[in-house]
Symmetry: none
Subunit: 208 residues, 4 copies
DNA sequence: GATGAATGAGATTTCATTCAT
DNA sequence: AATGAATGAAATCTCATTCAT
């Protein structure tokens, strides 16, 4: 879980976790514009401590994204063991639940860390293939459609989370229903993976 | 100095339009964090003039949202004249296209102005009823599901717009496919209108 | 005197002068590490006003240097009209007096603005030639020796100015005595102009 | 844990030297604004250790100045053994060389430690007297003139050291030439020793 | 009515110093 | 004795808003 080379001192590690938890809470409530001072206050540490752990605000956000991505990758791996091609659905449900609980706020998730994002997308593509082979999703569904579905869930989560923390489940129902095999193909062409790469590259989780 | 009752009315109106157009452009490029000074610069007027027209930055944003909502209401009315219950689909496509073209940046659209939002939601409910009656959408689809679909499109648009300006169409394909009549109902219960009201009330189009 | 293209509004121009005067005073007392907030306070304006006039602290310092250099160039021109090769001595005396009065603090003067520095050095070289032709200075004295003399005066001024504001004059006496024609050449080779250029380039009037 | 009365005394002494050496290097490269953390890092010790040896940053700088002054006093003593009144010239050359090599950065040397400064000035006065008696310098040259010459060398060194490490020698040539016996006295009156004391008292080697 | 100069609270970040481990 | 994590004051700079011109 930790990204540093040497193990942190006990209190330092605790502060690190407090800061990340505070960042999630504060960003969740106020968006990425929230001030680092506020985060330090909520974490109960001095602002200097925040900057010892995370040398810039951006580094703090990057760490958050990194941790969320790691969790999502783990979910994809877990889902890959589901039977009968149900892994994809389980994965979508699990990531939705995770983001709803831990990181609903992170507006721009799918970028920043190229390696991890690529791994995640590879795992998702595998889940998609499995689902297709078991006839659980339509044949013209592509891997890029699933990324769009992630953006989509993000939009719903961002809008509803504080008030209706389960609304995303209903929306996911509609999305999954739309992915089921059907008589006619989807009218528009899917986004090409190359173009999606550009999209991800363009939107960094950047402040300012 | 002028002898007419409303001197410079024409200038004032022109400035207003210039400012709104500049705001759309600048917010689109830089997000809502863009400075009002920049907007005034792009509009070619002094920032004092901006503040004469719009007493706060928030008021400027509200006006923008108001105009977008007006356009969306008009689209709903136009769509209501579509035959065979196709109005709902036409409406979804039209609003997507409009937001893609004019307001891709406005992150938080569906709130602020209660009266107009209520009217929009009423019109959308009517389109939904019509679509159901013609068997074009499933019976367990609710009006709140459509609002979630709007949030969803917002998420996709925000993520993809600059690089892949048509990606939202493909996503809408999946959404509409998920709305079609099906053998089994959606697993989760729909969001109640009352709860949705709270969601909308909570999220203001607010900066800072 | 003003460096902006359009004439400033009356109060703006006054504030600009107040800020420059305050900067001289504060830098003089506390060195270039003095805070901009302090300068604004001494000038009697808000800190935002300072930043409207000078977009960075560095810009403020650059302006100060620019103005000092302009004055020095003017002195060189005035000195060029002195009779009998006395221009060089008059120039050294005049710049010493000026720096003692207006800019004793500016630690690193002889750089930043390449064009002006080159002009100044050219004018000084001319003064040197004239002095040599009238037999007022030794033949092995070079233009780079005069720049070193400037650094030298800077060192003396920086050390003595607040307490002994005329000490530099006595030191200049010694320097000028050392420049007078003599039987034997100076033991060490003079700094080459190319090397001096590098020295000037290296030491920018930079903070941080 | 050790059984000796002063455990780790050897370590402590080594740390002290490492820290002083690191301070010279770092201050030389970055100026007195360099952070104490950086000095500790270069010294290879924790910053807690630095603060055990030197209770404040100022104390560290003072120690450095103290050491430099000690070396200079030693040079004055060595120079006193030079024949034919050449001690003064040797001393000036030796201090220049020493500062160029070891303490180019220390901007404000001639103060802080009253006792040592007084001793240094006394030794210098003796060298001056010797030089006068042997007819190597003019009769109207005073001890305070020599301190000004030190300031002067400081200015030249500070400006040129990194790029032209020998430029100060040429400047010293001019200074010494100016000190030689001449037909006419220096035009301005010398700085009185009392006034010079005030100058030295005023300018502390202070940071911030 | 229009302008843009002035304002100052607040943002991010640095760093000398303290103190728990 | 040594370490380096923690601290928070202070620095530079931005920007929504006000108001003199």
């Amino acid at each position: 879980m930790s990204t540093t080379t040497r193990p942190l001192r006990k209190d330092a590690a605790r502060h690190r976790e407090q800061l990340l938890a505070a960042a999630v809470r504060v960003f969740d409530e106020q968006g990425l514009d929230a001030s680092v001072t506020e985060i330090a206050r909520v974490a109960g540490v001095g602002i200097g401590t925040l900057y010892r752990r995370f040398p810039t605000k951006q580094a703090l956000i990057d760490t958050l994204v990194h941790e969320v991505l790691g969790a999502i990758i783990q979910m994809a791996r877990d889902a890959a063991r589901s039977p009968e091609g149900t892994g994809l659905e389980r994965f979508l449900e699990a990531t939705g639940a995770f983001q709803a609980e831990h990181a609903g706020c992170l507006p721009r998730l799918w970028n920043t860390d190229h390696e991890m994002v690529k791994l995640a997308r590879h795992l998702i593509a595998t889940l998609l293939l499995d689902a297709k082979e078991h006839g659980r999703v339509r044949h013209d569904l592509t891997s890029t459609d699933l990324t769009l579905a992630m953006f989509s869930l993000n939009g719903v989560l961002e809008a509803t989370l504080p008030i209706a923390p389960d609304a995303w489940r209903r929306h996911l129902d509609v999305l999954i229903a739309g992915m089921r095999p059907a008589d006619s193909d989807l009218p528009h062409r899917a986004l090409s993976p190359a173009r999606l790469d550009k999209v991800l590259a363009a939107r960094s989780t950047t402040v300012r």
